[in-house]
């Protein structure tokens, strides 16, 4: 296995709407920022991979327009996943492992403002048994929250405390859309109140990956990816135990998360109840700093929020604020798919 690190990370200020910006307008500043941080030029990048979803824009192949922002001519080596950028990062990591590239640019973006994202996300569900009922993303999360409450794993007060802790942390994050004292609000779908749900917004993020000595040359303290894995479980909610996340646990185990304690965890938990599930599945004790960025409850640009978790965890290592961090991304209803990476600073590995 090659040593691969995240050497740069950038994200937009996430906002409720960005009507004046096309996708490429939204994306270009973060692309320039990560390239600027490493000193790399676009044509020096070995592989480029992006994540997004056409259904957010309501236009086929919308990601091809965003490619203008990376300088795709003369021809570059490029790929795209119709998923969160965390999975694009995984593909880029594999590409570097094959030896075909030493550096990779990974980016993702999502504008939720053009449509109604709760309805849009119903279109990723099983088209035979689920999608015709239009169960929206909040409804599905609420089923999981109620299952947790019935199991005695949490209650509405504890969920509100999760929201408050994340949004208090987000006060120190200049990119956050929602920070500080946010009211619990009315029930959106019982038992979830507006405060338990993520803000809807637009945003983009980018990271640069590099292997071995290239990473050391590009970054004073690279965030080495010591392990990365992603797992999926059944699509049908009725065959799963919604109070647990065996796929997150298995991904963490395969990524080596349980070999030594982590000091920081960036969890992609758009709903407060999902943090309850993940803390337990990932065995995160109270000594682990969870979501110092504020997490997805502070900013949830769909398709970028998972990549941002990897970027935030890496940035803490870059700044020397963490030695070993867990980064998590999710996709699908009720934590159906989960990706876990373990990131370390150089000194922690010595």
């Amino acid at each position: 296995m090659r040593d691969v690190a995240i050497v740069a990370f950038a994200q937009t200020a996430h906002r409720r709407r960005t009507d004046e910006l096309s996708e490429v307008d939204l994306l270009m500043p973060v692309l320039h920022e990560v390239l600027g941080a490493t000193g790399l030029k676009a044509n020096e990048i070995g592989f480029t991979c992006s994540g997004s979803a056409d259904y957010l824009a309501g236009r086929a192949f919308s990601f091809t327009m965003a490619l203008d922002g990376v300088g795709a001519h003369p021809p570059i080596s490029e790929s795209h996943v119709e998923m969160d950028g965390a999975w694009a990062l995984y593909e880029a990591w594999v590409k570097i492992q094959t030896g075909e590239a030493d550096t990779a640019l990974v980016y993702s973006y999502g504008k939720s403002s053009p449509g109604r994202v709760r309805d849009v996300l119903t279109r990723q569900l099983d088209p035979y048994y689920l999608a015709p009922l239009w169960p929206d993303s909040v409804a599905l999360a609420a089923l999981q929250a109620q299952a947790l409450i019935d199991a005695g794993a949490t209650d509405e007060g504890a969920l509100a405390a999760v929201a408050a802790r994340n949004r208090t942390a987000a006060a120190g994050n200049p990119h956050a859309q929602l920070a500080g004292d946010v009211p619990a609000g009315d029930y959106l779908v019982h038992p979830l109140r507006t405060g338990d749900c993520p803000p809807i917004g637009d945003g983009a993020a980018a990271v640069v990956l590099a292997a071995g000595d290239t990473a050391r040359a590009l970054c004073a303290r690279p965030a080495w990816i010591r392990g990365i894995d992603h797992r999926i479980e059944a699509h049908g909610l009725g065959v799963r135990d919604l109070t647990d996340s065996p796929s997150a646990r298995l991904a963490a185990e395969r990524a080596g998360a349980f070999e030594r304690p982590v000091d920081t965890a960036e969890l992609h938990a758009p709903f407060t109840s999902q943090e309850v599930v993940l803390r337990q599945a990932l065995r995160l004790g109270d000594d682990v700093r969870v979501n110092p960025s504020g997490g997805a409850l502070a900013a949830n640009p769909v398709m970028a929020a998972g990549l941002i978790r990897l970027g935030e965890a890496a940035a803490r290592i870059h700044r020397g604020e963490s030695d070993r961090a867990l980064a998590h991304a999710t996709s699908g209803p009720c934590l159906q798919q989960n990706l876990v990476a373990v990131l370390e600073g150089e000194s922690a590995h010595a």
């Binding site: 449509g115 009922l133 599905l140 909610l237 009725g238």
Partner: protein, 318 residues
């Protein structure tokens, strides 16, 4: 007022899907008020049924009939139904384990309020008056006070007369599309029958229509440049198939046109000249769509009568 344009955008598809043998039996069964599950190799009954064992991935076809009554395993109260959801009045989303099944089905429960719903409550299917072979043949669940039926589900052939082999699922999503600054400026200029591109600050090329970025340099473009109205045909094709809902006689010519001052050819239809006389290098100008036809774009381009452009002047744009 913002100078960024916006417009409603509706994406609507009647998704047409074929069904495998198990899904066909299940959905046809719903039409006949019969709920079928599938038994896995270890004896677990899955409802709704799937075609492959989720543990072993082996094909499974062992259908059984389960009861139209069941128990709520978890729920969520929806105080504000959204368009297309099964009930128009506040309802509970529920996972229901039907009597005889080991797994739960997602659907909705008609109940007076959240206080009337709990995990463990007994419910039964309320059938839709008109059933077509779809998950919505179950109109909803409703409270039911009968005890669970513990009997073993009976085997079922899955055979029905006139089985449903496919479903059509309409899906509509509503958006408000905003094309951003660069394309808004382009579209606004078209109203005055002008075409505006943007110049890359690095390579100096002029892109039309502008998208706000130079795809070669990967940098933002902002400097507006008026291009055309005349241009040169760089390449073309002859279309012989009439498009549905398009009132243009075939054959016609569809061409790439490099407007004067632009470094990227855009495309348009050529008219005002017999189709077999169109050629590379032909000089053309736009003919704007008339009132009521949407005057925001050229309807087509026609010859200017100028001598053909020299190949060297447009060879980089072919």
């Amino acid at each position: 007022m913002s100078d960024v344009l916006s417009a409603p955008l509706v994406v609507e598809f009647p998704f047409t899907r074929s069904l495998g043998p198990v899904q066909s039996a299940f959905l046809t069964g719903l039409r006949e008020r019969t709920v079928l599950g599938v038994r896995t190799e270890d004896g677990t009954v899955l409802v709704p049924p799937v075609e492959y064992d989720p543990v072993t991935a082996n094909e499974i076809r062992d259908l059984v009939e389960v009861a139209p009554t069941g128990t709520v395993t978890t729920w969520a109260w929806n105080p504000a139904p959204r368009r297309d959801q099964p009930l128009g009045t506040p309802f509970a989303w529920v996972l229901v384990r039907l009597d005889g099944a080991a797994t739960a089905l997602l659907h909705v429960l008609d109940a007076p309020g959240p206080d009337a719903v709990r995990a463990g409550m007994r419910v039964r299917i309320r059938w839709a008056a008109t059933r077509t072979g779809a998950i919505t043949d179950i109109a909803c669940f409703e409270p039911y006070d009968g005890e669970p039926d513990d009997s073993e589900p009976a085997p079922h052939t899955g055979e029905f007369t006139d089985p449903v082999t496919g479903i059509v699922t309409p899906a509509r999503l509503d958006y408000v599309h905003t094309p951003g600054r660069a394309q808004s400026a382009y579209l606004t200029a078209l109203e005055d029958h002008r075409m505006v591109g943007e110049r890359c600050p690095a390579c100096r090329k002029v892109y039309v229509p502008p998208r706000g970025a130079c795809p070669t340099c990967g940098v933002a473009t902002a400097e507006q440049v008026e291009v055309g109205p005349r241009g040169t045909v760089t390449t073309f094709c002859i279309v012989n198939i009439k498009a549905k809902n398009l009132d243009i006689e075939v054959p016609y010519v569809y061409a790439h046109i490099a407007l004067d001052g632009a470094d990227l050819a855009l495309h348009g239809r050529i008219a005002g000249i017999p189709y077999d006389q169109v050629r590379m290098g032909l000089r053309v100008e736009p003919v704007w769509a008339g009132a009521g036809q949407g005057s925001r774009h050229p309807d087509h381009y026609r010859p200017t009568g100028e001598p053909d452009a020299d190949y060297d002047t447009y060879k980089e744009l072919v």
